[in-house]
């Protein structure tokens, strides 16, 4: 059964082994690379059906093992974090105390953990938030050293973070903001920038995706937006800009059931066989609508446990104490 294979063969599921150690001790490879895109896409079409999930998870796990098979045709991970430590820039208080994480193409990861465990800090550090200072460790994104890049370069490289509480920018029109960001992307790709009308044509269909009305575009960025509107706006940005790795920082907080479903539907709609998602959440209900390949538990600035989606259930029933004690 696929389930079993996954548990024994997949390195990230064994918390006692940091991913990079497994890289050297090349492990089992399963000859299943071809059906991968097919299963991925079928999974996204039926996000609410539970059955395809473990299969997808196992394929991802397979992919991660092939990446370490040392045969020369290996795929590098999309994101590889090793021993990342970071402090608050102002107070020098250490928040991240050695985070290890590997995300491959097409995987969905979820990080859960108590308040103050460092989840949000981790996501902000990845996108280069100036409030934090990296003091040690490595982060490689698409084969490049992420920590050397400016925040805008990280974004252009394909890293996207949806903010937990996006800042209001009075006086800047939402569509102008998106237009600027989109053109920055096109410029980076060497494509001609879009004029306002062309851009409008491009963005208009995306509104349906997040279930927003057109007037949403003419409002100032996040100004006077409700909690739900802010989250939808973040996802709209993701839809417009695209990303290889989307970090969704508590995309579910402050959302009612309907809004959560809308947002989750939008995220699922954006998934492709190659892009990946890193979700940060407190609640299992998000994981029921966006199915994770892996769940990581963060505590005191480290990832202390990694497992499949069943971890969320354990968490729900027994709380974080059960996990940190185990």
């Amino acid at each position: 059964m696929a389930w079993q294979i996954q548990c024994t063969a997949s390195p990230p599921l064994l918390p006692s082994f940091p991913p990079f150690t497994l890289k050297s001790t090349s492990s089992i490879s399963l000859p299943l690379p071809l059906p991968l895109p097919l299963t991925r896409s079928s999974r996204f079409r039926s996000t609410h059906a539970p059955s395809p999930r473990p299969i997808a998870a196992s394929f991802s796990a397979v992919e991660s093992t092939t990446s370490t098979d040392g045969l020369g045709n290996s795929k590098t991970p999309l994101l590889e974090v090793k021993g990342l430590t970071a402090v608050i820039a102002e107070t020098k208080q250490e928040i991240l105390k050695g985070v290890d994480l590997v995300v491959h193409h097409g995987e969905i990861h979820a990080i859960m953990g108590k308040n103050g465990s460092g989840k949000s800090t981790f996501s902000k550090v990845l996108v280069g938030h100036p409030d934090y200072e990296v003091t040690g460790g490595d982060v490689v994104f698409k084969g490049e050293n992420l920590l050397d890049m400016e925040p805008e370069e990280r974004s252009l490289a394909g890293l996207f973070m949806s903010f937990q509480s996006p800042v209001e920018i009075p006086g800047v029109n939402n569509i102008d903001f998106l237009h600027m960001a989109y053109n920055a992307r096109r410029k980076k790709l060497g494509e001609p920038e879009l004029g306002p009308l062309e851009f409008y044509a491009y963005i208009y269909p995306k509104l349906d995706l997040v279930n927003m009305k057109t007037d949403f575009l003419n409002r100032n960025v996040n100004e006077g937006f409700s909690g739900g509107e802010r989250k939808r706006n973040e996802i709209l940005q993701l839809a417009v800009l695209g990303a290889d790795l989307a970090i969704l920082d508590e995309i579910d907080s402050g959302l009612d059931v309907d809004a959560l479903r809308d947002v989750a539907k939008a995220v699922n709609g954006l998934l492709t066989p190659t892009n990946s998602v890193l979700m940060i959440t407190h609640y299992r209900r998000l994981l029921e609508v966006i199915k994770p390949t892996f769940i990581h538990i963060m505590e005191n600035g480290r990832i202390i446990k990694t497992g499949d989606s069943s971890l969320a259930k354990v968490l729900e029933e027994k709380g974080y104490t059960a996990i940190s004690a185990a």
Binding site: V127, G128, H129, P130, E150, P151, E152, S155, L156, M161, F163, P166, V167, I169, P170, G171, V172, D176, F177, M180, A181, A184, R185, K188, N220, V221, Q237, L241
Partner: protein, 490 residues
């Protein structure tokens, strides 16, 4: 803070003492013409400022010779002339000019403009607006530029001299120039205004389209020249009980006119339950002097809303005085000043509340984007003894974008009533890091992000302008100014 402003008031109260010496000086004024040189050496020696006397003389000389001036205007001139005799040219020692150096005007060769330019065809054709534009050229109302036929019955917009209604004339006569807070510039206008434009809205009348006043400075000297043609446009707006009108004032200089002085006065009286929405756009040449007074009196339950965007002038000052005459008034002042060059932008505002349940909100924002640019804000809100249950708020935010750029802010609330809700705040900053980061996180580089944020800082005020075509026009203007700055610096 309150104590400081009281000292300021004492200063103003001491003026009657000075006027006693007036009779002796009057003959002197008509006889002697002193050169500027002597005056500069001893301006404080007598109660009368010789420089001001000379200016008053030249203003009188510039007035139209015809004695057709109507009664209210004559009264205004007499009063102003009298006041000028006892007023000194402001110095940095005067509290209200502490941060505003007017010597730039004083050191120029001021020449009051005595007649409108001969060829008016150089006027810009009014742009794509659906509204009629009333043109002031060098302080003279150009009658041919409009017809009042599209206005509702009973509304009068035009020169006082052409006003035929005795009733309106009487009302204007009662109210015009009745103002104790003016300074030298108020009086200079009172004496030098060649005409008075009257906007009259009768009881219960709602004027749909805004009255768009465009003030154009045509006569102007080259940049760096000492010459400074002076114009004194004056407008009086009277809205009777329940009436409503929008006023747009736009100040510009003709292309090629660099150095000139516009000294403008707008008086507004809003009757019970009436509403005046005032948009004020100052886009003068960066070498010009621009002094402006806006005096507003509000009857009970009336509303006055001001949105100002000032970007021009080497020296620009707006004095706003709002006086509450009855209870339950609404006053909103939203202003934005931009200094992209070696400029001083000054806002002196004063809201006086004497009656219960007034509401006043003031937001002032300024950007100084030049190392020798300066912004000044003195915002006074006075909540007097009987102004109980007043809700007054004041907020000022300044953005300094260059080293040595200067802002002097003096927000002050004087509260005597004890049952009020008042708030105020002042912030001086660079751009918000969290906002800059939001742009960067979406792949937008820092320079573009900064530019967008600087613009948005002012756009918050521009968005309050009640007419979209005005908004667009102002946005384009501000964008161009900010862009010119970037080009200039790189």
């Amino acid at each position: 803070m309150a104590a400081l402003t009281f000292i300021h008031q004492n200063l103003l109260h001491s003026t009657p003492k000075l006027t006693t010496s007036k009779p002796n000086l009057k003959p002197k004024r008509t006889k002697t013409k002193l050169s500027i040189q002597t005056i500069r050496e001893s301006p404080q020696a007598s109660f009368t400022d010789q420089f001001v006397l000379q200016l008053a003389d030249s203003l009188e000389d510039s007035l139209p010779s015809s004695s057709s001036s109507s009664l209210p205007l004559q009264k205004l001139r007499d009063n102003s002339s009298e006041t000028l005799l006892s007023t000194q040219w402001p110095s940095r020692k005067d509290e209200s000019f502490r941060f505003t150096d007017t010597s730039f005007i004083k050191n120029s060769d001021i020449n009051p403009i005595s007649h409108p330019p001969n060829s008016l065809d150089l006027l810009e054709v009014s742009r794509d607006t659906q509204f009629e534009i009333f043109n002031f050229v060098d302080g003279f109302l150009v009658d041919s530029s409009f017809s009042s036929s599209n206005l509702p019955d009973g509304v009068y917009v035009g020169s006082l001299s052409k006003l035929s209604s005795e009733g309106i004339l009487k009302r204007v006569c009662e109210l015009l120039g009745d103002f104790e807070w003016g300074d030298l510039f108020w009086s200079v206008n009172g004496l030098g205004a060649p005409d008075l434009m009257v906007v009259y809205v009768p009881e219960g009348c709602r004027v749909e389209n805004p009255i768009y006043l465009k003030y154009i400075a045509v006569e102007g000297a080259d940049k760096g020249s000492k010459k400074m043609p002076l114009s004194n446009p004056r407008v009086f707006v009277l809205v009777e009980k329940g009436g409503e009108v929008g006023i747009v004032e736009e100040f510009v200089g003709k292309v090629g006119s660099e150095c000139y002085w516009t000294n403008s006065v707008l008086e507004v009286v809003v009757g019970e339950g009436g509403k005046v929405s005032h948009s004020y756009l100052q886009k003068q040449s960066l070498s010009a002097a621009h002094i402006k007074w806006t005096s507003v009196r509000q009857e009970k339950t009336s509303t006055y809303e001001l949105v100002e965007v000032s970007t021009g002038g080497k020296l620009s000052r707006h004095n706003v005085h709002v006086q509450q005459l009855g209870s339950d008034t609404v006053t909103e002042l939203t202003t934005f000043h931009l200094s992209v060059g070696d400029q001083t932008q000054d806002l002196h505002s004063r809201i006086v509340l004497d009656h219960p349940r007034g509401y006043s909100q003031q937001v002032h924002k300024c950007i100084v984007a030049h190392s020798s640019g300066q912004a000044v804000f003195d915002g006074n809100v006075k909540v007097n003894r009987y102004a109980q249950q007043t809700d007054a708020g004041q907020l000022t935010r300044s953005l300094l974008l260059e080293p040595r750029a200067t802002v002097n802010v003096k927000p002050n609330l004087q509260i005597i009533a004890d049952d009020v809700k008042c708030s105020h705040g002042a912030a001086i900053s660079d751009l918000e890091d969290s906002q800059l980061f939001y742009f960067q996180a979406r792949g937008i580089d820092l320079e573009i992000a900064r530019e967008a944020l600087v613009f948005s800082f002012g756009a918050e005020v521009i968005d309050k302008l009640p007419y979209s075509f005005v908004q667009k026009q102002v946005k384009d203007h501000v964008k161009a100014l900010l862009k010119s700055r970037r080009k200039g610096s790189s």
